[in-house]
Symmetry: D2
Subunit: 340 residues, 4 copies
């Protein structure tokens, strides 16, 4: 049986561990053969394939990124199910393992509905997929953000400054929540919870008054309570000024002006999604890769692997679609006890 693998969407530490585990398991237990599609769905619709046997995947678990390359191409822009079926047939490929986020899974669902044999592996560095407790990449991102905040804190303490770390999270605040809690942040600002600038300044001042240099973790998608979508449409920032930089850069001068505490912001950016995955992510990704082969063996087309507690389970694509897994109120309230 010949299987094609593709990785799609933003890169994420652990992708290579999924690929390696799937290939090793399929070859060893079931005599499967594998090819890789280059650059996500683009490689599928273009028929751009690369060999994928033991030599290609040896030792890659600890490597960040994906040896297959990735893109944000949607297969339905390039021919859809018909074209995918054609490329698969031309290359003797019976089934696909699609590793990707919500967009990929949505496309995979449509292809499954059209009769293509696909199993999915969820990928979201933001931890925003509903159907799984966690997926790989998130733990690495949280660890990198936490390490960065540990470093920022010593500078804050030495200079008596408020330090802001802007982390990933356009729509959900999981990375900010976990890294902020791990680093002992005095405020955690997430998209799910609009907050007033007055409240933020109160937290900063409270920390300062207890002799601490305030540390604030803010997700890139956070909005002040005074902001509406019109702001970003008009190119204005959180304070109605022409927008320069991200939310961290917008907050810093405002906090400084209101509290008199010198404030600096750092945007962690792409370093959060690259490089060697944590052991946690490598284990999870490896288990996902192996479970994807189980899915294929069982003919679980249209399902993706997922983590529930300590178990890997198989859930329909649609369970992961349609609604983001946001930070629930209870988790925010829990974290907020330690603010200020």
């Amino acid at each position: 049986m010949s299987i094609g693998i593709l990785t799609s969407g933003g890169d994420c530490p652990g992708l290579n561990a999924v690929i390696r585990a799937a290939v090793f398991t399929g070859i060893k237990l079931h005599d499967m053969e594998f090819v890789g599609f280059r650059n996500g769905w683009k490689g599928v619709v273009d028929g751009d394939i690369m060999p994928l046997a033991r030599p290609q995947v040896m030792g890659i678990s600890k490597q960040g990124g994906t040896i297959l390359g990735t893109s944000r191409t949607n297969p339905f822009e390039g021919g859809g199910a018909e074209r995918v079926a054609e490329v698969m047939e031309q290359n003797g490929i019976e089934a696909l393992i699609a590793i990707g986020g919500e967009g990929t899974l949505a496309a995979a669902k449509r292809l499954t509905d059209a009769g293509i044999k696909i199993v999915g592996v969820p990928k979201t560095i933001d931890n925003d997929l509903s159907a799984t407790d966690y997926t790989f990449g998130f733990d690495t991102a949280v660890q990198i953000a936490t390490d960065a905040m540990d470093r920022l804190r010593t500078t804050g303490d030495s200079h008596g400054r408020c330090m802001i770390a802007e982390v990933m999270g356009r729509h959900v605040g999981w990375i900010a929540l976990h890294s902020g809690m791990a680093a002992g942040a005095h405020a955690i600002l997430i998209p799910e919870q609009k907050t007033s600038i007055e409240q933020i300044c109160e937290w900063a001042e409270s920390a300062r008054d207890r002799g601490r240099a305030p540390l604030i973790a803010v997700a890139e998608g956070f909005k002040l309570d005074t902001m509406d979508d019109a702001h970003s449409e008009r190119g204005l920032d959180a304070f109605g000024r022409p927008r320069l930089g991200g939310i961290g850069d917008q907050l810093a001068p405002e906090i400084e002006a209101r509290t008199g505490i010198e404030t600096r912001s750092t945007t962690l950016g792409h370093i959060q999604r690259g490089g060697t995955p944590t052991a946690y992510d490598r284990v999870l990704a490896t288990r996902y890769g192996m479970a994807a082969i189980d899915s294929i063996r069982a003919g679980h087309w249209g399902r993706m692997v997922a983590l529930r507690g300590t178990q890997i389970v198989h859930v329909p694509f649609e369970d992961a679609l349609g609604r983001l897994k946001v930070v629930p109120q209870s988790r925010y309230d829990e974290a907020a006890v330690l603010f200020g």
Copy 2:
């Protein structure tokens, strides 16, 4: 309300994060007061207490070990429930938070039965407690062991050597299982699975034959299938020779003799349990500390906090006692697919 906190048993990254979160939460939300008992149950029976307010716990989450000190003292050796009650009364302490492993929880259960108000926080670097998915310290240990194996692998590859990493795990193989899987080990040897030296050599030779330097993760409590308890009683090693060093040191010359592959063993030892906790462990420990305060508020005496999926729950002490959480056959079989 005044609460006493103690940490007992081997140290573990995350203990300080539990203490900090409990103290902050109790003070901030419920006007509680805290004292620390020094060196585990020893401090309780000796009445050796230290102040525990915000200044003592500020910034300690990222610090390994425990600011309270720890010991393996059993409270029933030093007076039992009566003495514990006496010390609590003398110091105006109404309830205890006991952070420890199976021994501590067993003692805590007996004290609870005798009317002492105790809530527990599970601590096991080995991941061997039944009632919780994970507890803090384990993730850090796995990460350290994985990093070490990543390093050993490059030496193995350069010299064409078989490298053995002996990791913690006297009775259960969780650390070996996870770090070995993360590092791509060619064999993982755990106490739950007696294995023959022939099988181990076969895995090593299989890896060598594919051009790889074999990497073996072995838990300190692993036993060959030819070993029985009599071996260690008589001071003999796995091969009936006078025992020198741990199982890794015993395996190395035997593998080398049988396969002709130069073999070296490294015992990671205490570095696995100290130092800065991972972000994962800090988040979990912080949530445990906060949940312990909820337990007290709810009067959940005789219960410990535990992780189930992504939720913190409260379970009776006895659920964690009596049987170790061993590596199940299914998890071992899953990992074994990648051996050799």
Copy 3:
């Protein structure tokens, strides 16, 4: 003999190791006593002192920042030599150890000329002081920047993107040079070497043409050959547009537009100067702290400690002043061999 210690200017990993080593050595060998001035020269002119004995400095070597706090205050703004002498006399302080960069050493020189007993310890995260081979903090900054670029590279490779890392270095390019060389950057852009956008794009394209995702290390103070000081005076960026963000953010869209390679920039910012120092920096800082006590014993007022090869030497303040240690042409040419 009573000694005052102060740390001045931007914080830097290793400051605490200097303080600890000086205090331990002075107390142990020479029966000295120490006090710390809070927040640099500000604490000196304000008479704001804190105790500095063994308990305050135990275990602080591995802590980033400075337990004394720091500021950019100039002592001549707050009363000058007279005021400094007065505060020293009031507190029974005979000599000062001033840990700081060029500004601090310049002030220290003027104070020495006015009769104040001062020895210096050079501090520059940028490696821009002439009289010493290296000083502490630089190695840590280079390591952090290198780790970040290792991470960025995997994202670049996965997406076929050009990744830009903007590192510290307003006036000199040492951090960019070393981290760029360590990370295998395809271009290193430093203030000492104005470069054309055409040349930068050529390097990026050359890397791309060999199948590599281009990685560019740029110091924050780098200027294109078309830029003059007038640009920044007028608030314009490298391309004559209203200035948004740093040089990395300015280069990214231009490289993308000219080469067609998707390009992303990350500004590492403050994470480069905080947190646990590398072992290299801890050793150097410790040796500096001990040597500063030798300076005092020898009455080497007006001198600072410095590294020459593997030796710690004592050089006059003026040797470190007046001219920045820039990246010499030969070191740039050496690095440039590996560009493209």
Copy 4:
């Protein structure tokens, strides 16, 4: 011009960065061609070569070990100069770059004397070569040992234990000296300085008496003042007992017995020499690799590259031979100020 490269002796982080830089520089600037000899001198005498062009060396700087493999084979055991010349001629190789330690350089000198064109790159993780300030690998080893001691310290503090870290250094104590100083060890025991068990216990007790958990860094080659070579010949340990384990394991029970302080030893072993090199080592190794090409261009046969201060220089092989660079008394005395 065609060049052969070999790596010989124990592996060391940075070897790959040397290889990459030499190959890139030679190809780019001088149209050279390269081949690699597999497994050190063994590959030379066996004529076992591998291609070495850009694709083989891309991205390998950050990889530990050596892609060429290494061995401890001496070329004079396998045919000597005549055989080496023959293999070189058969493969059209005009000159060799030999990367190795004292043994390699000694062999290279004899081969040079016999007319073979060789330039050397010094490799010593122990920092024991006389003719260079430092070489690559040492900084990484010191960093790993320091990180390990940082971890051990938190366990020591929590349990009130004395922790011993046995680090590499059979003949010289540089790794122990630097890592011990970086980690704030209370005693550093090195081969160059025989010490009495009474003195070691005094340091441990002094630390304990100040409320510190004693931390001891010991080089594997350290000997007590009561030990002579006869001990190891007769298989006896430092205390005249049958020898089990290394010096750390021998000291631990003796310190515990004499001081009453529970004592644990950890032998770091092979993790000190593998894995990703520090940025410092990558920069130094890269500069060495490039300078080796300069040596070839200049016909500096019989010379090796070396670091003096911040400069790369070229020194005759014999300058590196004959005498180990031991820790001088002054550096030990400096460190010893902080003991106890």
